[in-house]
Each structure stands twice: as structure tokens, then as C-alpha cells.
Symmetry: C2
Subunit: 386 residues, 2 copies
Amino acid sequence: MRFVKRRIMSPGPVEIPPETLAVAAQPGPHHRTKEFRTALKDALASLRFVTGTRHPMVPLAASGTGGMEACVTSLFSPGEEVLVTVCGNFSQRWAEIAEAYGLVVHRLEVEWGKPVDLKELAAKLRRHDHYAGVFTVLSETSTGIENDIQGIGKLVGPTPSLLVVDGISGIGALPFKMDEWEVDAVVVGSQKGLMVPPGVAAVGLSPKARERLGQAKNPVFYLSLARAFKAVEADELPDTPWTPPVSLLLQLRASLAALEAEGLEAVWARHARLGGATRAAVRALGLKLLATKGFSNVVTAVDCEGGPDAGKVVKALRDDWGISIIGGQGKLKGKIFRIGHVGHVDDLDVIACIGALEMVLKKLGWPVTPGAGVAAAEAAILAARG
Amino acid sequence: MRFVKRRIMSPGPVEIPPETLAVAAQPGPHHRTKEFRTALKDALASLRFVTGTRHPMVPLAASGTGGMEACVTSLFSPGEEVLVTVCGNFSQRWAEIAEAYGLVVHRLEVEWGKPVDLKELAAKLRRHDHYAGVFTVLSETSTGIENDIQGIGKLVGPTPSLLVVDGISGIGALPFKMDEWEVDAVVVGSQKGLMVPPGVAAVGLSPKARERLGQAKNPVFYLSLARAFKAVEADELPDTPWTPPVSLLLQLRASLAALEAEGLEAVWARHARLGGATRAAVRALGLKLLATKGFSNVVTAVDCEGGPDAGKVVKALRDDWGISIIGGQGKLKGKIFRIGHVGHVDDLDVIACIGALEMVLKKLGWPVTPGAGVAAAEAAILAARG
């Protein structure tokens, strides 16, 4: 077997640090032991730290979508009216889940590639002041934009609505301050900024959301947040209602400890630098960014209208250079490619990726000045590092 | 840090073979790649093999309880009448989930420590012939019994009811022939006989059950079996509707390949030998088995009425000898202890565990002839090995 050097530049699942991989190679404790529950306590404390909350969070054996469903079914009842800001494939999923569970969904449609417009949201909230919940997304992975959750929180906070945020692909990588920004429910996933393989979701709730828990009338069992919070809080050491994904949670503790050691502000600054360098390189190569503002520093979406064939770029990067980037989703399928820069990624990973992109574009016959993208990335990196 | 030799003799999560642990220490592929989907195809083929079915199975990012809920919500509608054979903590969970989703639950109550009585079940089915489903469990972990699923299948097969089996703790370790035994829906878990850390469930459906898929009126999204089967079957290579637990599924492929290499009949024979040796030892030590018939070869439950303090036995085995066994659950809490012998366990693991148990019993002041339990286990092992 030949050892292939993989470079994952997708917006998740991301590269797992070797130190975190090694954790899964060790025999783990039984999940009802003090040893495991102490590890879980540490992991949850770190999770609260990166999520910016003093309030408890709970782990779920599920992918991020399971965490989203847990919020819908545990906090809302059939017939309740909610507002979903639809700005891409993932924020649209909120609407699909809410409709599957009988909620009445109002949509604030946002052009894909743009963030939620606060004025439009304010107008919508003025016209209709009794939404049970407002659902949005921190980093919309399908389009590469970041929403202004702080601004949204200022609008929703004073209303009776719960502000529910999909933070799956953003938290850990992007600034997020749950309590300060008046977020009521947040979903986190393991396989993005938290640098752990997929299979763990986590949910945090504000006191305002906790009051709804147990009042919601949707049927719920496996993904019940009421059960999950009860198990986490019943004792000095946290527990789970069902068997937790032990190995993944031990890996979560390891990766979160690394984030804490780097320093949260430094982690955010690193992602901002990598996002900025990637965008500078894309522009310098004569390519078009899908977004025009509100860029997410988790992923950069390149609009291929009038440009190279998105599918061919993705395939050539993978086949010729072992780099995983990804194409478009939903209505952007075939129209864009996306470069992720989230998790265990550094400046030189971006340089290497842009270098490969230059060689791929040249091969595909796209007019490109070799080195122009890399030069722009280097300039952005040096300027940001100061 | 001192290296402690752990011996896991719990009925799950079980010891993970070092070869399977090592799989999680390697960088994995992105989940939408041909590489991962080929690995998933292999894992699902092996799963079908150990489950005894020619029909497709689907993986879920969930613990076993999530797989159980998927069967309830994807196959049944509120108001439908179902029969649950309640013979312990896990079969009782079927009733709890079914009630959470508005099914009308009838119970066939079985004394804890006994398997389902086929005559009683036949009588129940004669009196009421329109259950939408009959729910039972292969190996009831809380009491250490194995149900006669083949016999139950003969009774339910000719009726319109779906036979739904929790095979989480049994499949891989105990004989199970889904198609031949007319089982309509089965749930498998990763952390028992399949020798993988917790976090993956899998579901298999018969053609009779597949007809119900899509007709059921329960709200369902994340755990939708309709979505999961569609993703598995849409293409030549299987896919998943949501991000799958990549590292755990790669580990599943590795452990299942080891089971296939050992040979399924040989794996079942090994578990039968370990179960027999454990029961012989327990009896030789003057202790009482909770079950009187229908012993599960996954776990042996020891009734501590008039015997040693169950909690002290569990604690001393853990603290003095590094062996994890477990106490009782639900209404058997504090009344029994349970020795698991499932997964990556061999004859000498049982000998070591019984040796430790003898020393613990002596320390606790329980009258015991040192070596008597081990001698009985040895005799059972030699007789079974022939």
C-alpha cells in the first residue's frame, strides 16, 4: 500500500490532528465510569468556553442535523409559527426539519451568497411579533457567508422568540458569544472547527430556552434535550441518557484542549488570516467570489460563471494533487467550488492549496499567471501576521 | 502515567481489538469520496452477513436507541396497536419509545430473568390478530436471557404484523438469521458483538417492512429510514443522507472483516463456550444465576439474593483487579451483577475473570473454595473445544 499525503481543504469533515487521532487508538473507559464522566466534564467545559456560554451544554450521539432536530422537537410545538432565514442549503434545512414536525414556517429568503440583511429581518419582526423562534446559521457552508449573529441577537433578544443558531461549521473557528449575543439555542458539530471525526453534536440552551423545555408538544425520545440536560445535571459528573460515542468524546476533549492552548482569539485570528489569504489569491487569479460581503472565514466559495469548470477543478485537485475541496450543493451544484480553511489548517496549507489550484487552472487552459495567487496569499498573510 | 491493564467484561461497550483501534488513528477519507463509499459498501455487506439477510441495511449516526426510534417512527403511525414483549430494561424501552410516538402499546409481561414464553405469545396473538407490530429483543442485556427469535418469527410471520427485533447486544455474537426467521426489522449496535466503539447503529428491513416505509404517519427527519434507504440504494456505491461517523464506520469494516475471517459459526460457538464456562463457574462458586433457562451467551447475570453484595463485587473487581463488570439496571439495581463475555473475549479472559471473582469473594468474606470456579470453567471449556 502506497502512503498518499492527503490535504483536506473541505469545510468539514476536516483534517484531524495526529494527536487527536492517537486518542482513538487507545482503549477507552466504560461510559458509566468516573474516568469517562470526568473526561466528559472537561470536554463540556471546553465546549462552553468556545461557544461563549456559562450555561450547560449537552452532547448527542448524532451528526449536526440530529442536533438541529433536537432543538426543533424539544423546544417547539406543532402549529407554532417560526421564522427561518434561508440563505443557503443548511439554513434551508431548519425549514425542512421544522415543517417535518408541523411548525408553521415563515421564510426570510436571502439571495444565496449574501448574509441576512438586518434591516429586512427587523422589518419582518416588526410586521409579525409573535414568532416562537427565529432560526439562522452562523456560517453558511453552502455559500461561504457568515451571518451577523450579534446583530440578529439584538433584534430577536427583546422579543419572546427564541433565537436558534446552527453553529455547526462555524463554532471554534469564528467568534461566537452565545450569552453576550443573546442566542437561545445553538448546535455545534464535532467535524468542523472542533477538529474531531463526525458523530457528535452538542446543544447549548439559554435560560429563556430552558423554560420551553418540557412544554414543547412534539413527540421526542432519542434526541430529547430534556433527557439530555437532566442526565448532564443530575450529578456532580455529567452523564448521558443513552450510550455516548465514547471515543469521539475523548477526541473532542483532546482537540478542544488544543484550541484552548492556542487561545480562542488566536484561533479566530488564524481563521480570519486564512480566509483573507484565500480570497486575495482567488481574486488575484482572476476568479470571482460568490459572496460580495459577509465572507465566512471557514470556507471560500468561488463562482465559476464565466470561469473554469467547477467539477473539473475539484476532480483535478483531488486526482493530481491529493487535495480535497468540494463543489456546490443544492441549487449551486456544478456552479461553484469551495475551499475550506477550517480546523487544523495553517498558512502554508493555504499556500500549498493555492499553488495546486494555479497548476490545475493552467492545465485546464484557464489563463493564469503562475505564482500570482500565491503572491497575493503571501502578502495577505504577512500583513495579518504583522 | 501508569499503564493500567484493563479487562472489560461488561456486555458493552466491549473491548475493541487493537487492530480496530489502530484504524481510528489513521487519517480518513471525506465521506462523499469513492474511497469512503467503497469502505461503507464493504461494511454494509459484512453487516448483512452477520445479520443473516440478503436485503439492504442502513447505517445511522446514533446509539442503539436511535436505531430503535428509527424503526418506530419510520414504520408505524400514531394510534396503531403494537405488542411489546417486556422481559427487561431494554425490551421495555421499545414500549417507552412507541408510547412517546403515540402508538397504542400492549404488553406481554415476562418475569425478568425468563425469556418470552412462545405459548403465551401464541395465545396473545390468537386473541388479538391485528397488531401492526410485535417488538422484542434478541439478547436482553439487563437479565442475561436470549429470546427464541426463530420461534417468535414462526408465530408472527404468518400475521400482518411486523416483527421488530432489538439485536443490539446480540448480533455478531449469537446466531441470528433475519431472513430465515422472518424478522421484518432489526436494529444492530456497534459497541457489542461488532467490537467497535459506540456511535453507530444499523437497521435492516424485510420487503414486508419496506412496504410500510413512507406510509407511516409519524413525523421523522434525522432518523428517517426512508431517507437512509434511498441514500444507500440511489447509486452503485452507498451514501448517507447526513454526514456519517466516518471513523467508526471504518472501524466497523475492520472488526466485521475479523468476524468473517474467524467464521460466523466459530464466533457463535466461541460465545456459547464462554457463556457455558461462566455459568459453570458461577454455579461451582455457590452463586445463583438470575435466569433459569434461555441463557444469553452475551452476558451472565448473577442473582445476589442471599449472596454477596452486588455493588461490592463490582467495585472490588474494578478497584483491585481492573476488571469492568456491571451491576443491575432498572428494578434489578443493586440485586445482581453481570459478567459480559461478548466481542473480543477468549477462554483465558473468562478464566482470569473467574479467578479475580474468587479472590474478591474471599476478601468479602463469602465462603468460597479458591480454584473451584476456575476448575469448572476449565472443564466446560475443554468439553466444548472437544
